[in-house]
Symmetry: C2
Subunit: 225 residues, 2 copies
């Protein structure tokens, strides 16, 4: 078997397939069980390496966790920057909303451990949480201010109803998060009631994005124009 030279994180590292394997395994484990519930042995097993290697690379469970938090913050940061840069110059509101919702949902769909880990931090009031949020806010930069301005403009133009932007952001966040952690509920709901729920189809995410976008933009009421 061909192996590459790798170095523990405390030293400069070049290649990193093994380190990466450990990080991925740890993410999954932390995502499922949280910092307290996670087991180093289980992480080692998932990564198909020896437990000693975890400490060789990351020193301790807490350190490993911190590295992962770092990478998560970075990933979200990058997602936001990318999304902002892809945004057309003067998007209409609906496009802006869809873009925002879409980028988060698609990102989290690829790495569901991220919302899981963040949610746990939130619930526990973790000490690392503020730093992560600050990094994310930092990535958004003037985003909130611009959003606020856009809102003011649209409101004054009578295009949208008087709306508290904070309430709106809060709501969109909730709708995005529930898309992932809510799955089990809806599967049970399906079993018990026979309701048609398509949580596992390919089109589900796209439908979800559309729904949130439309709910936010139009509401469910039919407008006679």
């Amino acid at each position: 078997m061909v192996k590459k030279i790798k170095k523990p994180t405390h030293y400069p590292s070049v290649d990193r397939t093994t380190e990466q394997k450990i990080l991925e395994a740890a993410r999954t484990e932390f995502g499922e069980h949280g910092l307290d519930g996670a087991r180093m042995q289980s992480i080692a097993d998932r990564a198909q390496v020896n437990k000693a290697l975890l400490h060789y690379y990351f020193r301790s469970k807490e350190k490993l966790f911190e590295v992962i938090l770092h990478s998560i913050a970075l990933e979200i940061w990058q997602t936001i920057r990318l999304e902002l840069s892809n945004q057309p110059k003067n998007p209409d509101l609906k496009t802006a909303i869809r873009s925002l919702v879409s980028s988060y949902i698609l990102t989290f769909a690829k790495t569901p451990e991220i919302p899981a880990i963040l949610l746990r931090l939130l619930l526990t009031g973790d000490k690392f949480f503020p730093a992560i949020v600050e990094k994310i806010i930092d990535a958004i930069g003037d985003g909130p201010k611009l959003l606020l301005l856009t809102f003011e403009k649209e409101m004054k133009a009578g295009k949208i109803a008087r709306t508290d932007p904070i309430q709106l952001i809060m709501s969109v966040m909730g709708m995005i998060m529930v898309t992932f952690f809510g799955k089990p509920i809806f599967q049970i709901l399906q079993q018990k009631t026979g309701m048609p729920i398509a949580v596992n189809t390919d089109t589900f995410l796209q439908e979800r994005i559309d729904f949130i976008t439309n709910l936010v933009f139009d509401g469910i009421k039919e407008h006679k124009s």
Copy 2:
């Protein structure tokens, strides 16, 4: 100090101030740290009783947790039943939505550990979760079917736009949940951006209820009628 006779739960119990104190402490601890992160010693401290007493009453950490899950399921069950019975015979859709949103938000506001504990169960894929969800669905009874029918009717009458009820329920749940666990984010957002956020005012919950109700019913778009 006057004391009352109490008996451990394995025996029939009459009065229960001490048992109750332990249960409340445990709820808080489990809510903040989850089953794995919770410490029996910490629960004892919170309840201002001795650690031995926890085992005297509840035998083990897991048993204590199960008792709490039971009580949570029961409380939600009762909340739903109460809300359903208070519902007017033929409420208009907006009233029905407000009633639903309101009862959950006000219930959870009184006991924020409940959404926290449930969320963690959800994230971990806990074995007890299905039973709880089933109990809740059981409490709702024909609710979903009625909701579906109401929806169909309103849609056919052209009163609301074609809407996937599951997507809607999912969204409402997300918006309700985020009301509680999202707090820290918005406090940081406030610190960093100076955005006016009133997460701690008396009126916040009422505003939140109004917002969700209106978003779901009207959407944010101004309708020229």
